[in-house]
Symmetry: C2
DNA sequence: TGTACATCAGTGAACGCGCGTTCACTGATGTAC
DNA sequence: TGTACATCAGTGAACGCGCGTTCACTGATGTAC
């Protein structure tokens, strides 16, 4: 008899599937604890408790608490990176202003929907935890999308431009960024892009971490205005 | 016999002086622990241990751990605020570009000298801790210096200006900021100022929290360039 | 100037709780023949 | 198809440590008369 009663959605053995499910559960619960206690307080025991497992069981899945934290960080970078990539791809590639706006809104929207994950990757570093190199690739996804955009912005429309030549160090650093992303953006465009990148995340940090409290709540109008101004600075308006 | 052997530098009783000294010691030690373990891990017991006191002794000085945290936060805001005020006052008040640059450098310099205090006040909020209203006045000092500057910037030089009228909500929020600071800055200048404020702190966060890693290290040239561009955007160059 | 009393700083034990990680173990799943 | 063995998931006790906060107390400093 041919084995047809076992459905086709079992590409792995029963163990592999159980393992994948438990890993997902751990991640979900860990993220909820992130919101309730913060990254520094993330507790292997508390997660195991919520799963109904002995705390030692989790050591079959993660070598240490820090490894768990690393996975959460990578997941957060990847989620944000994917949102931003999708947002950039969702609009007309040649409408650079709209593309920039879409990217910015994706960052802010994801951050507001996942404030604790945002805090994990862009807030104060967790003391005593050193992020391993595994996080780098994921961390760079947002930057890459922005550099790609910069590479498409024509240099001659730029409203804010350095008078005279750029500082040597800066030229080296910007060139390295171009190389890393495999593009050849104009350096004056690129440096402005980096500064607007800092502005974007500064804004979101202010909004989420409380600096806008009692002043810019809601911050939607201010955000839209900031994007407008950035588009103008690029000469895309 | 007249009591002349007791020197004049005792404006308070022996107890009051001892208390002031111990409070200063607590603050100093707490700040060093901030660097070693982070705000969430700040421990009354560890501080008492380092002081050679029973942990219960500190409850004569602080009603709770959170109160200690509050004091550290206020101190940090005040230190930064004072640096920035001094920096703004140290230059020619009418040289607005220089004044802006001096303010920005003061923020960055203080943050680099006190990265953990910066993280405490501008990084991810400490979960489970709600800052009381006592912190507000100190938190506003930097913003006030910037708004004062904005009030002196002539509106007609502005390079980046909103096309058409500002959004209503934004007008209200900006007007409120003017009122709070007791000035009457042009709203187009003011909104640009707010956005450059976000940029300034975004930059410093990136630099201190690691987003510039492997890319803008050192970040000095980038910072100077960013300030240059901001001054241009204000029309002050 | 001296005395009586109130205030305050600091002690040390205790309460009740948390944590990460290791280890020898049981029993179930998977694999090679 | 069945059997023997290897791998893996999960257990529960233990190690050694941490924490904030309360409480009754001792002894020193300050104050009012």
């Amino acid at each position: 008899m041919v084995d047809t009663d076992s459905p086709g959605n079992a590409p792995q053995g029963i163990r592999a599937r159980a393992r994948a499910e438990l890993l997902a559960d751990v991640s979900r619960i860990a993220r909820s604890h992130l919101a309730e206690s913060g990254a520094a307080q993330l507790s292997v025991r508390a997660i195991a408790r919520e799963l109904g497992l002995a705390s030692s069981a989790l050591y079959r899945y993660f070598p240490s608490r820090d490894a768990l934290l690393t996975q959460l960080i990578i997941e957060a970078y990847d989620e944000l990176g994917e949102s931003v990539e999708l947002a950039a791809a969702a609009v007309d590639r040649d409408d650079l202003g709209q593309r920039f706006g879409s990217i910015c809104h994706a960052v802010r929207d994801w951050a507001r929907a996942n404030p604790h994950e945002f805090a994990l990757i862009y807030g104060s570093p967790v003391i005593g935890y050193a992020a391993p190199d595994d996080t780098i690739a994921s961390a760079l996804r947002v930057a890459r999308v922005l550099i790609d955009l910069a590479a498409d912005v024509p240099a001659d429309g730029l409203v804010l431009r350095t008078p005279g030549p750029l500082n040597n160090t800066l030229v080296e650093q910007l060139t390295a960024a171009n190389v890393l992303a495999g593009v050849d953006a104009d350096l004056d465009v690129l440096v402005l892009g980096v500064e607007l990148w800092a502005q974007l995340f500064g804004f979101v940090s202010f909004e989420l971490f409380g600096s806008f409290k009692n002043a810019f709540e809601p911050a939607d109008a201010l955000f839209d205005h900031q994007i407008d101004m950035a588009i103008r600075a690029f000469g895309l308006a």
